[in-house]
Structures are given as C-alpha cells and as structure tokens.
Amino acid sequence: MIILQQLFNLIKLLNSEKGEVSIAAGFALGMVLGFVPANALIIGAIFFFFCILRINGAAMFLAWPLFKLLAFPLDPLFDRLGYALLTWPALQSLWTKAYNAPLLPWTRFNNSVVAGSLAAGLILFLPALFFFRWLIRRYRESVWRRLSESKPMKVLKATTLYQWYEKYQNLKGVVS
C-alpha cells in the first residue's frame, strides 16, 4: 500500500511543476544502492542520507532494483576499478586508516567489488543527478504537455469523477 502510494506520489510529482531535484536525487541514490552489494552498514548510511536530504523515496526504491539488475554484468568492471583504487599507492594511508577505524571494516570496503561499486556509485552520483533532472524536464516539457493537451486527457478532466478527485486532492492539501 505504502509502495503504491509512493508510486502515485512519484507520478503526481513527475507531472507537477516542482521537485525535479528531489526526484533526480532519488533515482541517483537508488543507483548507488543498486550498485553496491548488499551490506547492512552501507545501506544504513545511505538510508541516513535519504532521511536527512530531500530525496524522493519512491524514485529511490524504483531505481534500486533496476540498477541492481544492471550491476551484475558490471561486476567485472567494479572489480577492476575497486582493485585499482585499493592498490593505488596514494590512497594507501587512507585505506590503512579506514581499515583500522571502528565500524568501517564491517563494510568490507577492502573487497574490490564493494570498493569499485561504491566508488562508481559515488562518482556517477552527480552526473546521474543532472542527467535525471534533465530527463525529468524533458518529460515534463514534451511528454506530459502533449499528454495533458491530448483529447482523451481533456475528456478525462471534464468528467465529474475527475473533478471530485481534484477537490479531494485540494482539500487534502489544505488539511495536511
């Protein structure tokens, strides 16, 4: 039920004129979550950011499994990237400190796949954010505008049921 509600909210937000950064951040964070192998500590940390940042949850939970599927074929790449990072001399002191710090060893960051996928996720986070924001804008400018001006939509909006729905939504907005 919550997931469905989140999905409806996402569709509603997508079709509104605001919240494009929030949605894009949700997709980008979902991507990071999807890339990184399941690990309670990393997921906990991402969840923390999800809680304190204005990030659309529905977008994140939608992107997470999709990027998880994409991560399987990308694992060899993550492995190479992670191993390169972990063995990069310049970063040795950082890794050594992390290796001896509390909690961090539990993230298994010294595994090449974990390190590579996390690094890839973090590196791609900002580009993904901008890409998704651009994608949302494109959607709103072309797809949604055309759809809302289409005859079936106009017919739908003219129905009593839809007007009742709009009233309900307005009232709900005033109450909340």
Partner: protein
C-alpha cells in the same frame, strides 16, 4: 527549496532503535537455535541449551544448561555444562576484532543420565544428509580418522587376567564338544544296558533251561542202572551226544560273553574319548590365553587395553586438529566471507591497531565429579583448566599463550597433578614447551613428589627423572628418562585397587635397579613409542614373567573350571558303566559256570560209565577176550 530536512532524522533514529530492540530481543533466540543446531551437527547427537542471553551493554554472553548427548549412548550426556559466561570487549567488535576477556565454565559434568534420548531430529538429519554430499575438510578427516581408530582389534588385557580372570567370559562350557560328550555319556551307557536288557535275560533264561535239561539227562544216565553191557554202551553213546550239545551251549555262551564285553568296551571307549576331548579342549583354550604378539612397542595395548589407548589417541587427534586450525588463523589464511553477488578480491592493509583479530584473554573451566562409577564410590575429582592469551596474532602479545590443567583427586591414582603448556608462537619458530608436576602419585606402590616445570626435573629422593615435550607443527618429540635406584616399595602403605598399578607394581618388584628412557616421537596422529633402558631386558623379562604368571593363573583357573564342569559328568558315566558291566557280566558268568559245571559233570559221568563197563568185562570173560573187547572199546570210544 532547502536540501536538508532535519525532521527526517526522527524516523531514522526511530527505525534504528526499532532494529536494536528487535535484535536484542530476537538475537538470544536466534543464537540459541544456531548453537543447538550447529552443536548437534558437530556432536552427532542432540545438543540442548536451557537459556542463552547476550548483553551488549554488559558485553557478556551467558549460556546456561548446555547438554550434549552421547551419540553412542543416547540416554547419556557426553558433556554437561551448568554455566558458560563469556565476557567480551564491545569496542574492538566495531573494528571487527573479537576480544574475549574471559570465558568461565562452571559445573562441567560428563556421563550424566538423560530423561529423553538425544537422537538428532529427523528433519535435521535429512537436511544434513543433502549437504553431506560435499563434506568439509574437517568432516572428511574426522571420518577417515574414525575408520582408522575402529579398525584395530583387541588383545586380551593383562589387567583382565590374574585374579579378575573369569573363564566364563572366555568360553561357554555348554558349547564345548567335550561337554556335549560328557553329558551324552550316561545316556550312551544306559543304551548299552537297555540293549542287554532287551535280549540278554531272555537268552540267559533259555540257556539256563537248556542247561538244566541237559543236566537232568546226564544225571539220568547213572552207571548203576546199566548192568547190561549193551545198554551201558548205549548210555555212553548218549552221554557223548549230550557232551557235544553241552559244548555247543558253551560256545554260544562264550560268544554272548564276547558280545557283551564288546558293548562294554565300547562304553569304556566313550568314557576315554570324553576324557581325551576334555584334555584337547583345555589345551586349545589355554592357547587362547596368552600374548601372541608380546612386543614392547604394543605394551600400552597389552597393559591398558585397546579402548584406553584409543581414547588417548583420540585426545591426541583433537589436539592435532586444534593445532592445525589454530595455525591457519595464525598464518592469516583465514578467508573472509565474500559478497553474495561477486567474489571480488580482498586487499589487506597494515594493521596499526595491534589488537589481535581474535583474542581469548582468559578461559577458566572447573569441574567437580563425585562417585564416578568407573573409579569408585569414594571418588572425588576436582578438575580445572586455565588458558590465557589464546590469539590469532600471538606476535602482538607481550606474553605467550599458556594452558594449565589441574586435577585434584581423592580415591584415585594421585592426589594432585598439574599440566602446563606454554605456546610461544611469537617468532617464526614455535617454542612450545610442556611440563607437568604430580603430587602424591601412587605408582607401583611409590608416592612421588612433584617438582618444577619446563622441562620437568622431578626429584623425590629415590629417583631422578626428566621429561621434555616439544611440539613442532604436527609432530611430537617427547622424552622421558629416569634413573631408578634404591627404590623402596611401600606396597602395604598404598594398596591400590587400580589393576594397572597393581600389575606395574608386580613388574617393578622383579627389578631392583634400572635406568629407563621412553620416547614418543613422530607425527601427532601416529607417534611411535620407544622404550629403552639399561635394564630393558630385565624390564621385558619382568613384564613377560608377570604376564606369563597371569596367563598361567588364568589357564589353571580355566582348566579347573572345565574339569569341574565336565569331569563330574564323565565320572558319572563311568560309574554307571561299571554298574552295568557288573550286572551284565555277573549274569553271563553265572550261566558260564553252570555250563562248565555241567560239562565237568558229563565228563565224570562218561568216565564212570566207561570204568563200570571195563570192570564188568574183566569179571565176565577171559583175559584174551577182555583184551580184544577193550581194544574194540578203545577203538570205538577212544579209551
């Protein structure tokens, strides 16, 4: 639009608290189930835990009422622990390091009775059977080792001989051929009697009647009745015919006597066979008591019995396995769990925090056993084990790992004993040392005092001895040498019920003075025992002498037992045979004398008739005519 939403911290904190609470409440249940299931799998029989509690605040794990059933006796517990408390450090856990301050184990018991059988639940068996197709290395090794252990065959224990030897454990007398023969003997003799009874008395009666009839006929031929020479000659003829008939009767009786004697001889032969069979069985069974392969190398098996040797071999194996896996941890070959999705590669970095990944600072174990049924009702044993600084990275520790085992006993073989091992693996070469001290050891009637540790120079005033043990990887090198002289045996002061000690005491009694060296060397799973001594021949002779003495005692006991059980039956058969012989032969002999008497009587009567006839001839006719008639009579009747 603001990027941050501080209100979002609230659900994060709430969810974190919720996760913590759920973990705290369900972790105990989860860990308890994990311990029970995995413990059962390792043990091979049910492991039960009454209660398990994990407290992160106190950094303490407590397990109460742990019972591990014995797979070979499901109504008994192999091990029972009243309470196990493990205090760990919480902060190193955040760094993925397991530092256990102390594990205290209280109330260790073994061999306790169970209320319910400790069989493994069928569902688990099925689940494990599926995964058993790919057994772990440890499982494979243990299985292989188990096969090796059970392949050996037992010899007769020396301690089972001598006073405690019970022939009934060696042989069931009812199954012996000699016993069967002896038991059947009276029946066989009875059968001979029955055969005689069926035919003999009737036959003898018939003979008796016939002999009486013949006697009457002979008696009727009185010479005085025959005055007429022709009638007299006729009478002589008749007596001669009767004589032939008497001889025939006599022959028949002779045959009957021979036949009877044959049957009786057959009975005597059965008696003889039973006796020979008994002697043969005794000789064969005596051969079973002995030491076909009496060798010093297998002395332990001969003296203590195979089960005891196997038990200690198993302990050695436990040590070997523990050492093997401990070494893996030390050498840093431990494999970390891989991410589920892809294995990847694990990169290790220098450790700046010199806290070992695993450290057991202190292990404390105590056990109090009373009235052990194997030892006796007055037995009490207090055992304790203390281990310190057991670590995966011993080189970071200022002190080496130490293990100390102590035992105090009353009613046992010694008063107190302590074994101490220092496992110093802080450098490339292992420097493990082992030592022991014993107080009040009752060995061969002597009480030995305890001494130092590493290596152990023990002095008790009467002997100096030295023991060193070194373990290198999977090999053992243990040497014992002792100069035993001026031994004063205080046998009367220390009477021991322990069979092994009694035997050793008897062996040592045969030797006045000797130097003994024992070495145990080689791979831990198969170490070779060598015993050398300046007086080793004497020791060997003493052992053999005592062993043979025990064997002789046992053989004598066995022979006495068998003779008592079987010879009585043979003697009963023999007595019965003698009775039958007397009865049958007396009847036959009686008729035999009757017929002999009759024969003599017939001879006499014949002579009388002849004499009478000759006399009458002399009186009635001239001498020439008498001479002629006499010649004729001589020619015709042979007189």
């Amino acid at each position: 639009m603001k990027a941050l939403r501080w209100k979002g911290l609230l659900p994060f904190v709430l969810i974190s608290i919720l996760i913590y609470v759920v973990t705290v409440f369900f972790m105990d249940v989860y860990l308890r189930r994990l311990l029970v299931k995995q413990g059962t799998r390792l043990n091979g029989a049910l492991v039960e835990v009454d209660r398990l509690s994990l407290s992160f605040l106190q950094s303490r794990l407590t397990v109460r009422g742990l019972r591990a059933a014995d797979p070979s006796e499901l109504m008994k517990n192999r091990l029972e622990l009243d309470k196990v408390v493990a205090d760990f450090r919480f902060l190193p856990l955040l760094k993925k390091k397991f530092v256990i301050e102390e594990i205290a184990v209280e109330g260790v018991k073994w061999g306790t009775a169970r209320k319910k059988a400790g069989a493994v639940p069928a569902a688990w068996q099925k689940e494990w059977a599926e995964s058993a197709q790919h057994p772990s290395l440890l499982q494979s090794e243990l299985a292989q080792w188990g096969q090796e252990v059970h392949a050996a065959l037992p010899q007769l224990d020396l301690k089972q001989l001598g006073e405690r030897f019970d022939p009934r454990q060696l042989v069931k007398v009812e199954e012996l051929e000699a016993y069967r023969r002896a038991t059947a003997l009276p029946g066989e003799v009875q059968k001979i009697g029955e055969q005689w009874k069926n035919r003999g008395p009737a036959l003898l009666a018939e003979k008796k009647q016939k002999i009486a009839d013949l006697r009457r006929q002979v008696e009727a031929l009185d010479p005085r009745r025959f005055k007429d020479p022709a009638a007299a000659i006729q009478a002589i003829q008749t007596v001669q015919n009767l004589k032939t008939e008497i001889e025939a009767q006599r022959q028949q009786l002779r045959d009957l006597r021979g036949e009877v004697q044959g049957s009786l001889n057959q009975g005597a032969a059965l008696v003889q066979q039973a006796r020979q069979g008994l002697d043969q069985d005794i000789a064969n069974l005596k051969k079973k008591i002995g030491f076909a392969d009496f060798q010093l190398d297998r002395l332990s098996e001969t003296l203590f019995g195979l089960p005891t040797v196997q038990r200690y071999a198993r302990y050695l194996e436990y040590y070997r396995q523990a050492n093997r896996y401990l070494a893996k941890v030390q050498s840093g070959k431990k494999r970390e769990p891989e991410p589920r999705r892809a294995r990847g590669r694990t990169v290790r970095f220098p450790i700046t925090d010199r806290t070992p990944s695993f450290l057991l600072a202190k292990l404390n174990l105590s056990a109090d056993t009373r009235n052990n049924r194997e030892v006796g009702n007055n037995y009490r044993g207090l055992y304790s084990a203390l281990a310190t600084s057991i670590s995966s990275e011993p080189k970071w520790l200022p002190t080496p790992a130490e293990v100390e085992l102590a035992a105090q006993m009353s009613g046992g073989a010694f008063q107190s004993a302590k074994l101490k091992a220092t496992l110093d693996r802080r450098s490339e070469e292992n420097r493990d040392t082992f030592g022991a001290s014993v107080h009040g050891l009752r060995l061969a009637g002597m009480t030995l005092g305890g001494g130092g540790i590493f290596p152990i120079p023990l002095q008790n005033g009467v002997s100096d001895w030295n023991l060193t043990v070194a373990l290198r990887e999977e090999t053992i090198q243990a040497e014992f040498s002792g100069d035993f002289q001026n031994l004063t045996y205080q046998f009367a002061a220390y009477p021991s019920a322990n069979d092994v000690v009694k035997i050793l005491r008897e062996v040592l009694q045969t030797i006045d003075r000797f130097r003994l060296s024992i070495s145990l060397a080689g791979p831990l799973h198969h170490p070779a025992l060598r015993i050398q001594s300046t007086f080793d021949e004497a020791l060997k002779n003493g052992l053999q002498k005592v062993a043979m003495q025990k064997v002789n005692e046992a053989q004598t006991k066995l022979e006495a037992y068998l003779r008592r059980e079987i010879e009585g039956k043979i003697a009963a058969g023999q007595t019965l045979l003698a009775e039958k012989e007397k009865e049958i032969l007396s009847a036959v002999e009686s008729q035999w004398s009757q017929v002999n008497d009759l024969s003599t009587f017939a001879d006499r009567r014949l002579r009388e008739l002849k004499d009478q006839q000759l006399g009458s001839l002399k009186n009635k006719i001239p001498s020439d005519q008498v001479r002629d008639q006499a010649k004729d009579l001589r020619r015709r009747f042979g007189f």
